[in-house]
Symmetry: D2
Subunit: 384 residues, 4 copies
């Protein structure tokens, strides 16, 4: 790498949770530089936030349009390489489309857009322009998740028969107070879209299930619930699954599972054994066998696959966490941008980040579970 990859951020001003996470993820490996930002739709907040982040005054913008247009006029050696979009869901599509139109790669917080239609349009635009879209399905960035995917793809478990994925959180167990910005926009259909819990965390679970198993969901039977009174969007749900190889599954997602933190967990059972991974102890992958002692694979050990090692920074026993998983997505995206800059074909290793297709499937998941939940029909075809 001859220079750092330059990032412009849209959203993520003061008080925004996920913007700070994205910046840490971009910082960790020292490969990416925050060069400009349109950090808030409020100009004062945008300016103050830019100053806090040590941005030069002339690259603190007050709208994404201004940023994209202005940056596109800078010399190639100065202008940003990609935008990172960390706004609420309803504000993903427009800046993403504008960035693609002006030749910038795009990284977006999940879900990719407000609707499936928008997602398809972005995917088409990316294909047309040859630009990259990266989606931050963080949990696929963990080394032990990659280890599981690798073992399953190599057939270690035999044919996959059952996938159980769950994502219980408890933080929306009570009606959210007005001042909680995170909770507020997620509960507002105009900003979040047609789903609450399933859009926010269910999509992570669905992505993880497909990523690890290498399978695709083909049929669902969904039961979405509004548990806390006066909510407009689901805050809980259970979904029966069928996959394209005949495997069955369950997906549970909840934001009213009182006392749970961020307990995304997956189990995949095959003919020969099963794997289990919990995000809250992410450096452990439990592998169970029919007639042998259970094995505990741990991040950082010599016996792991190359792909797990490539996404690890520390030796075994030095726990990596959520921010490092997030950083793996940024790092792989940045290395792929760099390869493209240099006209090199990106390796599968660095292309291993969620992309536009994952974004489309995620939006399809949201639309399908909402439709299935409203239907009296038991099994509902998963349409993309």
């Amino acid at each position: 790498m001859k220079e750092k990859i330059r990032m412009g951020m849209i959203g993520g001003g003061k008080q925004a949770f996920i913007g700070a996470v994205h910046r840490i993820a971009a910082n960790i490996d020292g490969l990416i530089e925050l060069c400009c930002g349109a950090l808030s739709s409020n100009p004062e907040n945008a300016k103050a936030s830019g100053k806090d982040l040590f941005l030069p005054d002339d690259r603190i913008y007050t709208s994404f349009e201004e940023m994209i247009i202005s940056e596109s006029k800078l010399p190639a050696s100065e202008r940003m390489h990609f935008v990172s979009i960390v706004t609420p869901n309803h504000l993903h599509f427009e800046p993403a489309m504008l960035a693609l139109t002006h030749g910038f790669h795009v990284l977006i917080d999940k879900p990719i857009t407000f609707s499936l239609e928008e997602a398809k349009a972005l995917k088409a635009k990316a294909e047309e322009t040859g630009l990259l879209i990266c989606l931050t399905h963080t949990y696929s960035g963990y080394p032990m998740v990659k280890q599981a995917k690798q073992m399953i793809s190599e057939g270690a478990l035999g044919k996959i028969r059952k996938v159980c994925v769950e994502y219980p959180q408890g933080w929306l167990s009570l009606p959210a107070p007005m001042e909680n910005k995170q909770a507020a926009w997620r509960a507002d259909p105009a900003k979040s879209g047609i789903s609450g819990c399933m859009a926010d965390v269910g999509t992570h679970a669905a992505h993880l299930a497909e990523y690890i198993s290498g399978l695709q969901i083909t049929q669902i039977c969904a039961d979405l619930n509004i548990v806390v009174e006066d909510r407009l969007l689901d805050d809980d749900g259970n979904v029966l699954l069928r996959f394209n190889n005949g495997a069955n599954g369950i997906l549970m997602a909840s934001q009213i599972a009182a006392g749970e933190e961020n307990a995304i967990k997956i189990r995949v059972y095959g003919e020969k054994g099963g794997i289990e991974w919990h995000q809250m102890e992410p450096n452990t992958l439990t592998v169970r066998w029919l007639d042998q002692p259970t094995q505990v694979y741990r991040t950082g050990n010599s016996y792991l696959s190359d792909i797990a090692k490539f996404n690890t920074r520390t030796p075994s026993g030095h726990p990596e966490g959520y921010l490092e998983a997030f950083a793996n997505i940024y790092k792989n995206f940045a290395l792929t941008i760099e390869a493209k800059q240099e006209g090199i074909e990106p390796t599968p290793e660095i292309l291993d980040f969620p992309n536009a297709m994952d974004g489309v499937r995620g939006m399809a998941f949201i639309e399908n579970v909402v439709a299935s939940s409203k239907s009296d029909q038991k099994w509902f075809d998963f349409k993309v």
Copy 2:
């Protein structure tokens, strides 16, 4: 107690797994005496098994009919007080009905009968005769399960919103070899009934969910699967649940979850917090709260409820297990028989064992999940 309670066992001869477990459970507290048995339908096995168990020759019977008739003619001070029926499912009803008819209390391994109809008939007979029926839903015998039930009934978690229960096993991941008797009868519809996995372990999960939560299942949406080729009965299944207070839930049961041992686990979430209990670490009850540190309740501590303490034999840190949970059911049943013998009203504490009503609901569970699974209708009313 003036004398030990006398038990006659039906089934449970050499090589039978569950018969040995029942005898240990009956032995542990020294309150129950095995006084006679019809331990096998094979007369030679019956005799050899009786000798192994130190039974006197004249109380080793070769059929349950012989045993029940003969015992009923002995003086009250000698004859058995109850029968323990540990035969395969299709051989529960007849001996149970005959025992009730001849004035003996009845303990039966779950599920109570071969069909819901039989279960209702037994329940009616027990009510008519005033005799007791006890069903060994073992998992409800654990002290920490009773603690959870107690806390929930006292409102510690607020209104219950969600119940997730699962019972993964892996022992039927491969086609069972002919010589495995346990696997063989369970896979045979003529002996097991209309369901395999759901009858064998799903009923435990359903019972545990209702026992701990104090709720009743009112609607289900079931997806039963035959995963291993050539099986005739379900070996896996996922069920969406709705409860009588509006709570939702999931029940997963599987015998093809490769590598899993006997991993029945339950989580119940209410407005204020949630509980979690795993059978494989049964002395721990995890209680999570909205805004306080998670608490870990442990068997044998002074802060537990009276009902948990009543069902515990050792101080904290001296783990009790499956056999002690089983023994709690036997002990409470024996103490209730004794109270009845002495004309005393049994206390709620000793009446705390699964009974005929639980048996009827268990059979209803089996019939409903099988029917729901075959149906295209999404939500299926749980009919008893």
Copy 3:
């Protein structure tokens, strides 16, 4: 087995904790029958306790002398086979010696006696008479402990380099109230002997370390403490260890480790790997390797050693606990008595219970740690 093995119990009347545990352990497998007892030195308590246990009036004795003499006069087909001594430490030697003198095998709760000298005298008497002494070092009765011992003896870990054993309890963190009988006699040098914590739980830890590793302690450096004011005996201690093969180790035992239940735990490290076992999750044995995933061995699985299987009653995932570990000692002892009765050489499998030699080493441990703790000399030879 043609008849049950008959046990006479000394001590263990109402309110005694460990007596009840011994009876459950003896009951579990249905091989042993409590036939008589001298359950308390208080005649009324002795009688009431005997009645509670359904003993016939003529075999409820009011002193151990009466019991041993009377039983020795009964015909062989009726009289007890062994005594179980569950009194405080200072009341072990006399009944044990009298029993041996009258031809009865002896089972004693640990530590075997009040002093090393007494222990040696008992051992000599047992050798002289050919009678058996069994000592209830419960923790060596767990199947996973036996699995660990077996693996180590077969060289799975290579040469052993380090042994870390600890036994923290918290129940004596406060001055014990007068009415706690368990705490009272243990704190009284006239009843407990020269040590409190080390005699009560340290001996278990030392036995476990030697049992699992197959090594013997040869040198110690002990630091015993009286943490709670006004105690007369140690309630806490740390000991550096050296073993006969050059391995080093640590033994920590405490009864003032506030909040701990009964957390005996051991780790043994060899050249090739290490094992870890916790009593509070006794069905799990963790085995770590230099360059392979950690393995989790679990009770009841087909891949375990014969000796582990022989000491297990239930399939994997059906947790066995403290009472079953205790029962394994009783069962093996009973089977050995039976073999002797029938003139058969006991197999190593059934001889696998702690014996007089373990009792002598346990008393030596107590005397050596107390002496070492008082000494200014760093390393103290472990003298037996």
Copy 4:
């Protein structure tokens, strides 16, 4: 903060493990900028490493002397604020002293120096110049460690009675191959100093024990071992401890605990309860009480102390790890430098990083355990 704090790195070129960790830690929060480096004593490696890190050519130095002198001549607005020294132990003192002499703050990887004497000299120089020294005892940077320290200092556990700290690793179980640079210098007395294992990991354990408990070690009894043949320095050791309030303790450190990763763990017991923390699950703090359920405190929750929250970046359930703990030390050090730049008194919150005094105590620990281990005297006064 008006500008990023500028760091110059000494050591940490290609292939160096700990240098990369330091850079990530410095990067995470976007507050620190790597502005120059003398990354290797090999000029070619120094230059290549500097290029890889996007350093401008004129600030890639080939010796620490060159770097310190050159930087000191740059205008204040450009020159580095501090040096980060990540060389082997024998190369800490000289650059640190030179940096202090030229007005630069100093951050050093632990142990602070090669000898206690050097450590005292650095501390004196820092006091004389008013410059800061920061030592990366990483484990004190974890939020749950700070929570534990806070609770103990507020008396939640009552008077502290016992501290058990251990740091088992297994990576030196075999003679290290020549090409392992990490292992090689640590095993060489000329580079590592008078101790191997105790200097490398034992010092972390000792620091953690004093940091969390708020106590100071006053007496020790050490048993250091060379387990792998032909080593020149200890690779394992056990130490009995006494603290200044009368509490006792144990410290175990090993690099031949085969199969262990990086398992530093601490337990502290007081009159009212005890805490337990494991580095490999760092977001969990277990708090046990005499008569209440055990509590599990978890990073990121609202009920935690301010100091824990100040050192956390993500919401509960989003695990932070080793790199974030490391980053907390860098962040607090940078904020303190900034406060000093601006003439503001640093708050206790930002001053919470290990300093010169910790460095001196760490070197004293090494010298004392080595001396104690060689001595026949049991208790050895901890001299600083």
